[in-house]
């Protein structure tokens, strides 16, 4: 870390440094773009993975924190930029350095009203275009009269404003149309069988060929981050079930780790083992559902039922221990909510016994099929460089050859002690994404096998004060969800409630990359590609 600091301070004397759990560089807005470029391009730094952009309102100023990681080394870094102008806050865009920033910056614009100079799309991301106010600002007026529930048809804009800096450094406002005038635009979604939730693709097609896709999200936006600011820390946890509802344990785990790190709580060994087993069970269940729904998207309805059999078995195991099948609310600060069911070990072993047989069956029915191969091989190829550029993590990123498994790159809990492989494939097409998940099921089973006989006795939860107050500070935690890297940023002002809780879901980049890898393909390929990316809409919308 010291070397990074020395290097940056030499190049950018204006930068100041602050060491929290992540080194944070504060830089004036004017130098942001050149710093970003240096961080990405310098061979020693190589921060090519933009994890998230955290919009912030520090009351006296507005700003952003950019969290960076790397595809080649394990360092993380944060850049802080702020502006004191609350009326017309403007910052420079980094979308030319990391393409995914385009959509991250739209989110910040939506919630904080910060305009990004140079971003080609400055529409709201989640809220309606006529929404009044910027909800995550601390002075936001929550009066419902300002934003009544509309019974009119949803209004939408066909164009966007963009703010560009000209040669003299002056900022010009320009208008740009999303689609060309005579494009034939088909609305796929928000109510559509293959969008896996209420996601909307405005798809310009030329016959059956896709020209451009405009992803329109926010139909299931619930303002989780805003809600969390009014809740105590234990209360914020249950929202994690409602993001990626197919694999809630991992998200719970992430937020718990972040809060525990902040509060300095040591989690008992038994609880850690249980958490990891639950995470991996969730991963198997989630990937099974992926296999089922994906095959159904391709028209092979029968596979859904074969895949659901295994998932049902896992949900039954969860049900016995957690008391729920989807919204478990099982991980709590300091450990887990309840001890394991008495049949847990036997049930899990029964599951492990049938898994290999099932996977073999899936491959027999589906993977080897010639139609399947034609539909998936070479369809929606995402190169490794693009995967990093678009922050596409998880199985989708690994299928493109990017070893981005958070369990390996930034080990947490007891993952560093476990023996498992990170599944990385090279092709980057839909078939690779599918096979990658198949293999991950096997790896997860391997992890569970190592742990299931060695669950240590002891407490399931550490002693945690009834009223939990975190010290002033900020923390950042990444975990590997089932669909990619799930990151939490937590800033505390010393009270019982978070000052800011930013959730960085893996599905937002997955949806953002759809346009890039579908253009030029057929409509049917959009379904294949969308299915193989396996995004979950409540996760991206929050």
């Amino acid at each position: 870390m010291a070397t990074i600091q020395e290097k940056i301070s030499k190049l950018f004397p204006a930068a100041t440094f602050e060491q929290a759990d992540t080194l944070q560089i504060t830089i004036p807005d004017a130098q942001l773009q050149s710093l970003a470029r240096t961080l990405r391009d310098d061979a020693d730094l190589a921060f090519d993975f933009l994890v998230t952009i955290v919009g912030m309102d520090w009351k006296d100023s507005l700003g952003c924190i950019y969290y960076l990681a790397s595809s080649t080394h394990a360092n993380t870094l944060a850049i802080k930029v702020s502006t004191t102008d609350r009326e017309n806050p403007m910052l420079h865009s980094v979308s030319e350095v990391w393409t995914i920033a385009e959509i991250f910056e739209r989110e910040v614009y939506d919630f904080f009203g910060i305009v990004f100079i140079g971003n080609k799309d400055m529409r709201r991301l989640f809220l309606n275009i006529d929404w009044v106010g910027y909800p995550l600002r601390k002075d936001y007026d929550t009066n419902p009269d300002l934003n009544p529930v509309s019974i009119e048809n949803e209004r939408q804009s066909d164009g966007t404003d963009m703010y560009l800096e000209n040669a003299e450094g002056k900022i010009e406002k320009k208008h740009r149309l999303i689609f060309e005038k005579d494009d034939f635009v088909v609305n796929i979604g928000p109510q559509h069988p293959a969008t896996h939730g209420v996601l909307r693709f405005r798809t310009a097609v030329d016959g059956e060929t896709i020209k451009k896709i405009d992803v329109y999200m926010g139909y299931i936006h619930r303002g989780v981050e805003k809600l969390c600011e009014d809740l105590t820390y234990p209360q914020t946890l249950h929202f994690m079930d409602r993001l990626d509802y197919f694999a809630a344990h991992n998200y719970h785990h992430g937020l718990c780790l972040c809060i525990e790190k902040a509060a300095g709580i040591e989690v008992p060994r038994r609880a850690q083992v249980i958490r990891v087993i639950m995470d991996e069970l969730s991963r198997i269940a989630s990937h099974c559902l992926f296999i089922g729904t994906f095959c159904m998207d391709l028209g092979a309805t029968t596979m859904l039922f074969y895949a659901l059999r295994v998932r049902e078995q896992i949900l039954d195991i969860m049900d016995k221990t957690c008391g729920a099948r989807m919204t478990f609310n099982y991980d709590v600060i300091g450990g887990v909510m309840a001890d394991l069911d008495e049949n847990f070990v036997a049930d899990v072993k029964a599951l492990l016994a049938v898994l290999p047989k099932n996977i073999k069956e899936y491959n027999k029915i589906f993977t080897g099929n010639v139609i399947t191969k034609n539909r998936m091989e070479g369809v929606g190829v995402l190169s490794k460089a693009d995967a990093i550029d678009y922050s596409v993590t998880g199985p989708s990123g690994r299928a493109s050859g990017w070893a981005c498994d958070g369990r390996k790159t930034h080990p947490y809990s007891i993952y560093s002690e476990l023996d498992f492989e990170q599944v990385v494939m090279e092709e980057g097409d839909s078939m690779a994404r599918f096979k990658c998940r198949m293999k991950e099921i096997e790896e997860s089973a391997r992890i569970i096998e190592q742990l299931i006989d060695n669950i240590p006795a002891g407490d399931i939860c550490a002693k945690v004060p009834k009223v939990l107050k975190l010290p002033v500070g900020k923390w950042f935690q990444m975990v590997e969800g089932c669909r990619g890297v799930f990151a939490v940023y937590l800033e505390s002002d010393g009270s019982t409630k978070p000052y800011r809780l930013k959730i960085a879901p893996p599905c937002l980049p997955l949806a953002a990359v759809v346009d890039h890898i579908t253009s030029g393909n057929k409509i049917a390929d959009l379904i294949t590609i969308g299915g193989s990316l396996d995004y979950i809409v409540p996760d991206m919308d929050r």
């Binding site: 088909v186 559509h192 589906f366 139609i371 539909r375 379904i527």
Partner: protein, 365 residues
Amino acid sequence: MFDFSNVTGWIHDLLSSFMADWLVVVTECVLIGLGLLLAYALLALFYIYFERKVCAAFQCRLGPNRVGPFGLLQSFADMFKILIKELISLKHTDKLLFALAPYLVIAASMLAFAVLPWGKGLQIIDFNIGIFFLIAVSSIGVLGILLAGWSSNNKFTLIGALRSGAQMVSYELSIGLSVITMVAFAGTMSVTGIVEAQSECWFIFSGHIPAIIAFIIYMIAGTAETNRGPFDLPEAESELTAGYHTEYSGIHFGFFYLAEYLNLFIVAGVATLLFFGGWMPLHIPGWEGFNDVMNYIPTPIWFIGKAVVLSFVIIWFKWTFPRLRIDQLLALEWKYLLPINLFNLVLMVLVIVYGLHGPVCPVIE
């Protein structure tokens, strides 16, 4: 074998004994129409139940089992539901074409019913170009689908209809060519003639390799022609919600639904006719005793039984394979099936010319 023309002849004589000639024709038409509608409805109900049970078996489920014994009345309940559902009228549609489309689709499949050989002497019209007529009328269906997609004024239906047009027109070629192959083998276009020609041995056995190739191609093209998976692109539910019939409701939707199942039966029925002897019982040359036993099974049971077995194969396709993409679908037809088919026709001609085939009864015109 019982000849059903005795029954129909008796009815005709009975009616003629007290009616004028023109009235006899009218009465007979009405009777046949009623019989056809009844058979149509019953077959559709049976197929809905059959497909559900088969699909359930493939998917490790039970299928309908609540309404009536073994869920037998489930499809009656569904049919009744669809009959009493509201027909939602839509703005901005072409009202006439929108209403006309489902009738065109259903009329096409009903007309095709007319030439199917249900049993010995049990056929509505039997004339010398029966097969030709069948191919001609079954093409009307695509018109209905195109109209449905166009008149709905919806982008999904339009894409579905365009896909359907491209698909059906292409696959009709394959159907036509594989039918021609078998017609060449039988030496007649008359449906009865084709069945009689198989009285010693079904064409699939006597027709040598070209008959088997023609059969495989016919089954693939027939599945595509009925818009069933893996060729269900016009109504690919994960892409186009419901394709060309997205905007239809109530019984209008029901017509499309029925026509799909009936077309399944027709495709299977024609395959039965061309390759498995129609209503002709299984005869093995030389096994006289066996052949006599087979003759005791009534001919309609032979026909319907064979058709149901073949439709089971088509249903099997649907619940096993994923869907093709439109370009792959067209490539399959134009790059593979069509050349193979043309080659197969030549092969069949050679087989006929050099007499390499098994026993075929000479057709007496």
